[in-house]
């Protein structure tokens, strides 16, 4: 079956430079993460603690969201609820219109990608400027992020140098990373002050205190949230934690899992707009809380673990499939293992269910997940939801729609043979007996491999001469 996913994968596998970029980057990230956790016992303790913090928050999600809203409001942050990405975009638009804003400076936000916010606003004449270096680079090239925390990871230094030279011909060509960074910084610096509205994502929302936490390295997040007079934060409803004490362990495991950093350069805790007498900070702070299918995920005890994700990207960095096909192959906002469980749940298994198939279930993702999301189990569950008959027993969107008569018939026949030993053994004996007549061209398998060779006689036949009890 040919699909859009399959075609993109094929195209991307054929780009040696992109593959090399991913391979090099992911090797580096894996090593850096490993270096951050020299003590395996401490790592496992911290993973368990982090999982418990996230699981606790999700177990009382509605209640915590109410507390959060009350405390944010008390702190002067205006809270907006959006069930769909359309609603979220409309909310952002209405805030911009209220301030007659024609441009917006953005810190990094995957939820804004999920909303397709840039497209939505630009179609209405609002300029959206990405201020995260990686996002800035891909925006210049008209691309989407290929990784959730390192959006331009698919590009190497030379490709970026060429891109800058093409877009800013007045600036001398350089391949020096520091100079390239300085160029971006100079261009962005003025925009921070000129933009009437700044937008950011959120890493954690603290219900108890009504605080928004933002992790970043470049300082652009801080600029986007303080220099413009209006700050809009957009995030998913699942990012809430109960108390301030929950933050340090999560922050510690987030940065170490993600980029292998013990801490990031900046950690912002936003607890309200500028207060009387304060010299800086925005005059208005808004928080847009997006559902976009998350409530549906929340309603299933087995799938709920998906929402524990703290968006560190460790699963992506360690995925042998992702490193080869790259983030763009997935055709979704979130790529890699987390994308392969999140996107089919958000859009439906009929739409993105194929992503759940594109895994060997090797478990490298769950081995590193800081909050122990059982990604392979959820992939398995989504495969089941895709083809199951009792669709009334699941809330998963698009359930049963991937079931085809021919595949279902194949598995039915297989199960019949495997539950009738006489048939099964007759088949295998026959196969080994006439193995010379079996095809040597098995389509996809034999493109790079020789056809598997059947043994002269099966184990069942050989066991008879082994002196074991087989009656």
């Amino acid at each position: 079956m040919s699909s859009e996913f399959r075609n993109t994968v094929r195209a991307n596998l054929a780009k040696p430079e992109v593959r090399a970029n991913f391979y090099r980057a992911m090797d580096g990230l894996m090593t850096r993460r490993l270096d951050q956790f020299p003590d395996k016992v401490e790592l496992e303790r911290l993973r368990t603690q982090s999982m418990a913090i996230r699981a606790n928050a999700l177990s009382k999600l509605p209640e915590l969201l109410e507390t959060l809203e009350a405390n944010l409001t008390r702190n002067g942050i205006q809270v907006h609820w959006a069930e769909t990405t359309d609603q979220a975009n409309q909310i952002v638009l209405s805030i911009l219109q209220k301030h007659n804003a024609k441009s917006i400076i953005k810190g990094k936000s995957m939820v804004s990608e999920e909303m397709g916010m840039n497209h939505f606003l630009e179609a209405l004449g609002v300029e959206c400027l990405e201020s995260d270096l990686g996002e800035f680079i891909i925006q210049l090239d008209g691309e989407t992020p290929s990784h959730i925390i390192m959006p331009a990871i698919h590009k190497n230094r030379i490709q970026i140098a060429k891109l800058f030279h093409e877009k800013f011909p007045d600036i001398p060509y350089t391949e020096d990373v520091d100079e390239l960074t300085q160029t971006a910084r100079r261009i962005l610096r003025d925009k921070f002050y000129a933009a009437p509205v700044g937008l950011s994502g959120v890493n954690f929302m603290v219900a108890e205190t009504g605080t928004l936490c933002l992790v970043e390295n470049e300082g652009n997040g801080r600029m986007s949230t303080t220099a413009p007079s209006v700050h809009i934060a957009v995030t998913g409803i699942e990012k809430v934690v109960e108390s301030l004490l929950d933050v340090p362990p999560l922050l510690s495991i987030l940065t170490r899992s993600a980029t292998g950093q013990p801490i990031t350069t900046y950690f912002n805790m936003i607890s309200g707009p500028r207060k009387p007498g304060e010299k800086d900070g925005p005059e208005e702070v808004h928080l847009v809380l997006l559902d976009n299918g998350r409530s549906n995920i929340y309603s299933d005890p087995e799938l709920l673990a998906t929402l524990r994700c703290i968006r560190c990207g460790a699963c992506i960095n360690h995925c042998p499939v992702y490193v080869r096909i790259g983030g763009h192959s997935y055709g979704t906002v979130y790529p890699g293992p987390i994308g392969s469980i999140l996107e089919p749940q958000k859009a439906g298994v009929d739409v993105h269910g194929e992503l759940a198939q594109a895994s060997t279930l090797c478990g490298a993702c769950s081995e590193v997940c800081p909050v122990r999301i059982p990604i392979p189990s959820i992939l398995n569950r989504l495969r089941y939801d895709g083809v199951r008959k009792d669709t009334a027993n699941t809330n998963t969107v698009g359930s049963g729609k991937r079931r085809t008569l021919s595949e279902a018939a194949t598995w039915k026949t297989w199960a019949w043979a495997a539950t009738h030993p006489t048939i099964y053994h007759a088949g295998s004996t026959l196969a080994t007996h006439f193995k010379g007549m079996l095809p040597t061209n098995l389509g996809a398998w034999t493109t790079v491999r020789s056809a598997p060779k059947l043994a002269e006689s099966t184990l069942h036949q050989q066991v008879k001469h082994l002196g074991v009890d087989h009656e």
Binding site: A358, N380, W411, P452, T458
Partner: protein, 249 residues
Amino acid sequence: MTTKPDTIYFFGTCLVDLMYPQAGVSAMQLIQRAGVKVIFPPAQTCCGQPAWNSGYRDEARSVARAQIALFPKPIPIVIPSGSCAGMMKVHYPELFAGQPDEAQAVDVASRVFELTEFLVDVLQIELQDLGEPVTVAVHTSCSARREMGVADKIESLLGQLSNVQRVEHARKPECCGFGGTFAVKEPEISAAMVLDKVTHIRNTGVDRLISQECGCLMNIGGVMAKQGDAIPHQHIAEFLWERTGGNAV
């Protein structure tokens, strides 16, 4: 259940049955040589993993149910494969959750051992190397490594063999790209993964490749055969049996 049992059940797996029977034979011989009686229930077929991983849970359950019925005695079930052992140990309880025979499934799961785990932890097997000097690369399957957590057992067994030198390869813990139906459903990605794996193994210059998983051996070995000049590759049981005196039971 870490004391040495008198008798065990052996589950051969369908891949061993059809493609690598010698691995199954050697595994049973190793266990017999250690003084343990082996029961090989003749009605065994497949653990049900292919259907389970494809989302066909009803079909997987009916096949799994037929296997569960073959292991009534309270003795260990030894399996020469990390992934089939993982299916029975980890996934049977999930597959039968809420079913009338859940207790039987959980009981079977609790008695499952992957072969190398059984040889090291339960039999505490002692090996004497009688072979010529040889260099080997080890490929541990993802199920053995992560699902079963027994990746170190194959290393510890090989470590007992004085003339066997283990050589590490790049990205050793990474999946070979087999993944059962994955290799068929996503052939291009699988090919990219296994081609890299073969390159890393070839770069070691070893004499032999050893694994406890016949699926991985079929995948990696298939590529090496297609490329010509395949490095001899063997299931750990067969290798151990060969190195420690072969058929001199």
